[in-house]
Symmetry: C2
Subunit: 440 residues, 2 copies
């Protein structure tokens, strides 16, 4: 298709929202574009969930299971069932009660279902919260660096500046958090929230200990700081017995907005996530409502409501497993655990005890491993890796907001076979050795 | 649930995004809340589509039809089909080629499918465009007054001020448009776009003639003004032979972004809409891309991608009818036509030739009729109508942005039976007569 015509309306990119020219919004495009150009390369870059459970027939089975629940457990007639699935519906969603029950069972988290808003994936949940919190240009958001690109991108769209806080080995450096909050307030800025992923974070792979979660909640209480807890990987520890309570389950002060996803625990294609926002919001007359209701107002102007058909698919999967996704994800958990162990063992074998200055971290679960190397890892190196070595991974600088050089890369191990892992690590090791030799 | 606790984090509404306290975002809540409080009242307020075609079995049939298309017409294997429906996917959508074919068949509109972005309903399409166009505080949006509340609400969230343009009998008063554009520019503001619904507009019911569409395109060309054409009701004229070409079909200058919806033509529950944005965007180096690709970047940070399961349901319905929704909507069209005629005839019978100063307009299709009365129609009158007369309708002031008194109300005739229409009009007539008597 030709892209030049005489006398046509055109835009300059600079005339559009500044976020569109921002590196953060172009990061994902760049990484997808490289993956598209080298389809034969082994991908240790993609953070997608495993595909072994995918089955078209499950859509019908799940929808029917949900309809049976409506008819038999709720006593609905067929017209009402049809209307629920096909018509416009409740902005906060039609499966909030089932989600509340799932949180009770899988996270020992008791929440009123009225505090839940079902969203178009967790991404919409993030945007709703950031958009609602952004009241004026003095508002700022805090995140642990490195941070999930989707969060930073949503903050860009909401025009909410992001202040990074050191992650460190504990998942967040609380002294740095306190210091940065003080700096922001001294500069006349208003810290609105801190975004954290306490379990097997993307991209760092790190988790917070129970003691550190408690300390974080204490600091947040002292600072009256809202915490945004994102938990897409919580069901995927290496050992189920190692699971930690979420911040929201420990929260005594309604200090935490919980961001939930069914993309990894049920299926990505439904695009169903949710948020729990039980904070009280008072209007000028002192009338109290829930933060969830304010977020639903934002949603009504963004997407109106999440597809009830998609919600029915997720609800059917929940019902099929009596509301809990822990047994339902046993096979996935096995795949992720075996892959993670294979990647960690494979790195240890190829670079024993930090040989050549190459070290991996040791995530207790999740999809990601971070490898630190003794040279900056830039996009040119990724391009070379794809073209000359046939392996894809993600330069960690994409997860830092400052544009600085970063000496590390992220490996994903969620959608690869054992053979792909070994071959991918061989290729990565060859690249690293060649790069080290060139440096002399 | 109690809403007061000691030592809990709370917000003041005034600390959140100003849009949340805006009457526009609370309009829909208020109207839904009234409907919820008077479930026994006849609703001439709801703009939802008719429900006679709803059938849970259709979900499976449509999904299977789409899968068959992928296997048989595209030659895909089962793993690829499963991955498309279940995995994360293309931000611009997986059914853009089928939508392009539908536009060719039903609207004689030829567009490259790369210029299409599938969205979570038309609401997301609106927000994507407004968010991308809002670069700085000098940007303003023009709309025809009265305007769909969802558009005004999306503009509030995007912090894009809305300048109303007179509608008049032609659908838009072009002299007023030119004058307002001049005023805005003189004030140092930058008009970004004009939002219009040329076919059976919500809420006015009005349509633009072919000649007036051409004049609007000429004016827009002269002003280098982007037009946002929203077309949810285009398939529902009283007579198919009366259909007019869309602005986008007449557009020679890529002057029009087309906003499409399947909520009324296929089913609301899929939450699938789309936009066509074939404008060229040039970056600082002169590289050209499509506006659709910039809008997809915004979408990647809002909802990532529209549920492929929802897209499959819509695609299956399109494929079942060889790509055209004109025959597929014949029964709906009959319902809407009969209801519209019955409402118009019923009003004429009860208030012949403007008796008592009560007049209806004469829409050529769509879901809505506007009734003008000789007194201001406020929310208190609606409340009284619901409580004492048992009929719901929509005060037109909700569709004007200025908070002024408005002497008219909107009647919807899309989800009512003939009996409900007659009884609803009897009740409305009783309310009007009583109100007139009180005024003396």
């Amino acid at each position: 298709m030709s892209l030049t015509w005489p006398d046509q309306l055109e835009f300059e990119l600079g005339e559009l929202a500044p976020a569109l020219a921002d590196p953060v919004l172009n990061s994902m495009n760049f990484l997808n574009e490289i993956a598209g150009r080298y389809p034969g390369a082994i991908s240790l870059a993609a953070g997608r969930p495993a595909e072994h459970t995918f089955d078209v027939g499950a859509i019908e089975r799940h929808v029917q299971r949900f309809c049976r629940y409506l008819r038999e457990e709720r006593g609905w007639d067929e017209a009402r069932v049809c209307r629920l699935l096909f018509q416009y519906g409740r902005t906060k969603g039609i499966i909030t009660e089932l989600i509340a029950r799932n949180l009770e069972l899988d996270e020992q988290l008791s929440v009123d279902h009225e505090a839940i808003v079902v969203t178009v994936g967790c991404q919409e949940a993030m945007y709703l919260v950031l958009r609602a919190l952004r009241a004026d240009p003095s508002d700022v958001l805090f995140t642990v660096a490195p941070t999930y690109v989707g969060l930073t991108g949503a903050a860009r769209l909401a025009e909410l500046p992001v202040w990074p806080v050191e992650g460190g080995a504990d998942g967040i450096d609380l002294a740095d958090l306190t210091s940065k909050l003080g700096q922001a307030r001294s500069a006349g800025l208003r810290p609105r929230a801190l975004y954290v992923m306490p379990d097997f974070a993307n991209p760092s792979g790190l988790s917070m200990s129970l003691a550190h979660r408690r300390r974080l909640l204490e600091v947040a209480a002292g600072e009256n700081l809202l915490l945004l807890e994102d938990n897409p990987y919580g069901l995927f520890p290496q050992e189920l017995s190692d699971r930690q309570p979420t911040l929201k389950a420990l929260d005594q002060r309604r200090q935490v907005v919980y961001l939930g996803s069914f993309a990894k625990s049920a299926l990505p294609g439904a695009r169903v996530g949710y948020l729990v926002a039980d904070q009280v919001v008072r209007d000028r007359n002192g009338n109290a409502g829930l933060f969830a209701d304010e977020l639903a107002k934002v949603k009504s102007m963004l997407t109106v409501n999440t597809s009830p058909i998609s919600q029915a698919v997720v609800a059917g999967k929940l019902l099929e497993h009596d509301g809990s996704l822990i047994p339902a994800t046993a096979a996935d958990r096995g795949v992720y655990r075996d892959n993670l162990r294979r990647v960690l063992a494979g790195l240890q074998r190829r670079f024993p005890d930090g040989a050549h200055g190459v070290r991996a971290n040791a995530p207790a679960g999740g999809f990601f491993v971070v490898v630190t190397v003794p040279f900056p890892v830039d996009d040119a190196l990724l391009e070379r890796s794809a073209a000359d070595y046939g392996v894809l991974w993600t330069p960690m600088h994409h997860f830092y907001d400052a544009g600085q050089a970063v000496n590390s890369l992220r490996l994903s191990c969620s959608v690869v076979t054992a053979e792909q892992i070994e071959l991918g690590l061989d290729r990565l090791a060859a690249l690293i050795h060649d790069r080290l030799e060139e440096a002399g």
